[in-house]
């Protein structure tokens, strides 16, 4: 009898705790502790602006940025989780969301997401990443495509070319034409691991999005050993031969000056390169942005999305803060504000990009996403940790980066090494 009563009381308390945040929000001032690596440049500006909006809605914004690589941000997050004091909200992306959600409790956002009718305006592959186990525990913030093609206007003039290449054959022809016309390196590049990875994923997804999905996203063994993967390595070799070998481990931004000057012709980069170019003082008419080459002519979109994950907290003010944050992140006006600062495109596919504040590149990217989703050609980026968890990604990028830098490795060898790397990383 007493036992039963105690249980009823407990259940009652649990029910109280589970009461929708709205009713409790009046009592407490929403507060949010946030960890991210976004400290400077357009990323820092964007999250600061988001914090301002949060404060305007009556919240207390407590952002602790961890500058440097994503790894350092993750180390801080790990330390806080181990100490039993996770932030209410932190930056995390891709399959790492599923991996990390297993080591600490997260907040179920299903009710809030359903109330906002958000699910139907998000690309399905993206939605799946943010609801591991079927529940929304994280929300994507902004989208980039990692396979945009940037063309240097001056290099195009040198080569007397005015056609934007659509297929890889077009692309190769244009690069050869540029080389013949005196463009020193038809492909502008950096030498970092993601940079090399992007060359490969753009090649494979451009050759066959279906093979990319099977081999890279689903790690299907037949697809990994298939002809498309070898063809992709052949294409990567062509790209590598047109690149400046002297870039060593440099960031791609080091070579932007030579790219704009027409000393380098084309660049396969993420949409963020637009922001970097503009930030470096170059004009929108110095370059053209187009979707990366695809052999079937329809745009392929390699998705890269930043996101926030929400960690479970017992404090009423933090819970109210999480609810407020979730509403803000899903809000089209907030997504517009954020993407206009960083140069990305909004997660919502229903945001109108025709107005002022958006660039042609962003409009083209958004259109490409819509088209790619419709034709099932929107896939998740390997090089930017969207397709696989970090362990598998790193093992695969090892093979790719070695291949890019070592011309003695044949495409066949590279394909079988890629397969071995996948097997060895389990």
């Amino acid at each position: 009898m007493t036992n039963l009563r105690r249980r009823t009381v407990l259940a009652g308390t649990a029910g109280l705790l589970a009461v929708p945040h709205q009713s409790r929000a009046q009592a407490v001032k929403p507060r949010l502790t946030v960890i991210s690596q976004w400290t400077s440049g357009s990323d820092g500006a964007a999250i600061t602006a988001l914090g301002k909006k949060f404060e305007e809605k009556g919240g207390i914004w407590q952002h602790s940025p961890v500058p440097g690589f994503t790894t350092e941000m993750m180390n801080k997050l790990r330390a806080q989780i181990m100490a039993g004091d996770p932030p209410a909200c932190s930056q995390l992306k891709g399959p790492e969301i599923a991996a990390w959600s297993k080591i600490a409790a997260t907040t179920d956002l299903d009710a809030i997401v359903a109330a906002a009718g958000y699910e139907k305006v998000v690309a399905p592959d993206l939605a799946r990443l943010h609801k591991p186990g079927g529940h929304w525990i994280s929300l994507p913030l902004q989208i980039y495509s990692t396979n945009m093609l940037f063309l240097s206007k001056r290099a195009m003039d040198k080569a007397k070319a005015d056609q934007i290449p659509v297929t890889w054959a077009d692309f190769n022809a244009l690069a050869a034409k540029m080389k013949a016309a005196g463009v020193t390196y038809p492909i502008a590049n950096g030498g970092t691991r993601p940079d090399d990875g992007q060359k490969f994923e753009a090649s494979l997804a451009g050759i066959s999005p279906a093979a990319y999905r099977a081999a890279i996203m689903n790690l299907d063994e037949t697809a990994l050993k298939g002809p498309e993967v070898k063809a992709a390595f052949v294409q990567v070799r062509k790209i590598a031969d047109w690149m400046d070998p002297n870039t060593a481990a440099q960031h791609f931004s080091t070579n932007l000056k030579r790219f704009v000057a027409g000393d380098m012709g084309m660049m396969i980069q993420g949409g963020w390169a637009q922001g970097v170019l503009l930030n470096a003082g170059y004009k929108l008419d110095d370059f053209i942005i187009a979707p990366g080459p695809t052999d079937n002519g329809k745009p392929v979109f390699l998705l890269n999305a930043d996101a926030f994950i929400f960690w479970q907290r017992k404090e009423a003010d933090l819970q109210a803060g999480q609810a407020l944050m979730a509403q803000l992140v899903m809000d089209p006006a907030i997504q517009t504000m954020y993407s206009q600062i960083t140069g990305s495109i909004p997660v919502r596919t229903d945001v109108d990009l025709s107005g002022a504040g958006w660039s042609d590149g962003q409009r083209r990217t958004a259109a490409a996403l819509k088209e790619a989703v419709a034709s099932n050609q929107a896939v998740l980026s390997l090089a930017h940790n969207m397709a696989q968890q970090n362990g598998v990604t790193a093992a695969m990028i090892d093979v790719i980066t070695e291949y890019v830098k070592d011309r003695t490795i044949t495409p066949d060898d590279a394909a079988s090494r890629l397969n071995e790397a996948v097997e060895g990383s389990h």
């Binding site: 991996a99 060593a248 090892d398």
Partner: protein
């Protein structure tokens, strides 16, 4: 009873007097030893667990070790370590000794030169790596400099050459630490008994013979110290490579410490990272244990003499 108390008092008093001494020696020593031992044991334990993002309980036996040893990254890193470790130790030893002998000639401005040669040690490895990465970059550094003078066929592209890139790390590491060997050797050279030198000179020994037969043999203990210190530095090298080549081109210049970091923090595989760390510790022990044995033998020799 009062007698006994009286006898005890000086003893207690002596202990109290020497308390600061004991505190300064034992407290830091125990803390440091406790730290090293406990974390080493912890790492050892983690290396046998299926830990990924966080340490987990469980037992997977030697699975992490076999997995690490099977990766190309570890094999490349270990080969690089053998090459880098031996080349770096030998070259920094020779450079340090050479500099010390040259400085030992009672030249003018010795103090200034000594500071200059020692200065690289005051620079952090990240700075060294970054500066050398620009110097060695064929597109902006030494090669371009010489090319701009008109020698167009000049090539110095080790940084982007997979087979030679490891040597750029040797170069930067030698540049950074030759001064350390120099300082120790110089001290050794200066402590050689002048009577010994004079006697040799009277016997008609030339400078080369003097160094080879008389002075250098007295430097053995210092040489061993320098080798051991440089070797353990070589085994744990991390930041220099990270800043200079980032482990590239491709994964050609990986070293074990980079592999450990990569497994633990970038791939989120704590268990494998710990296994790699334990393997690193074993390499370190392979250097330090013979050294300790050698010290022991030496100590017994001097005790008998």
């Amino acid at each position: 009873m009062s007698e006994a108390a009286a006898a005890r008092r000086p003893k207690v008093f002596g202990l109290a007097r020497r308390l600061p001494e004991h505190l300064t020696i034992w407290v830091p020593l125990l803390l440091a030893a406790g730290h090293i031992v406990s974390f080493s044991l912890w790492t050892l334990w983690v290396s046998f667990t299926p830990s990924t993002l966080l340490p987990e309980f469980g037992w997977v036996g030697l699975h992490n070790y076999t997995a690490v040893l099977a990766t190309r990254n570890w094999r490349i890193a270990f080969d690089n370590l053998l090459l880098f470790g031996s080349a770096f130790v030998v070259l920094s030893l020779l450079t340090g000794l050479g500099l010390a002998i040259l400085l030992d000639q009672r030249i003018r401005g010795e103090n200034v030169l000594r500071s200059i040669f020692l200065y690289p040690m005051a620079v952090s490895f990240v700075v060294t790596g970054t500066v050398w990465s620009w110097l060695l970059n064929p597109g902006v550094g030494v090669q371009k400099f010489v090319n701009d003078f008109g020698w167009m066929s000049f090539r110095f592209d080790w940084l982007i050459n997979r087979d030679m890139a490891i040597w750029t790390i040797v170069m930067a590491a030698v540049w950074q630490s030759a001064g350390f060997g120099m300082a120790l050797f110089l001290a050794g050279l200066r402590s050689v008994d002048t009577d010994l030198i004079k006697a040799a000179q009277i016997d008609g020994a030339g400078p080369v013979r003097l160094y080879r037969r008389v002075i250098l043999p007295t430097l053995w203990p210092i040489t061993v110290t320098v080798v051991v210190i440089q070797l353990q530095f070589a085994i744990t090298t991390f930041d220099l490579v990270r800043a200079l080549t980032g482990g590239g081109p491709g994964i050609a210049t990986l070293l074990p410490a980079l592999v450990v970091y990569d497994f633990m923090f970038q791939r989120g595989l704590l268990g494998r990272g710990a296994a790699a760390a334990v393997l690193m510790l074993l390499t370190l022990l392979a250097v330090l244990l013979p050294y300790a044995a050698w010290r022991h033998v030496q100590a017994r020799k001097t005790a008998r003499a």
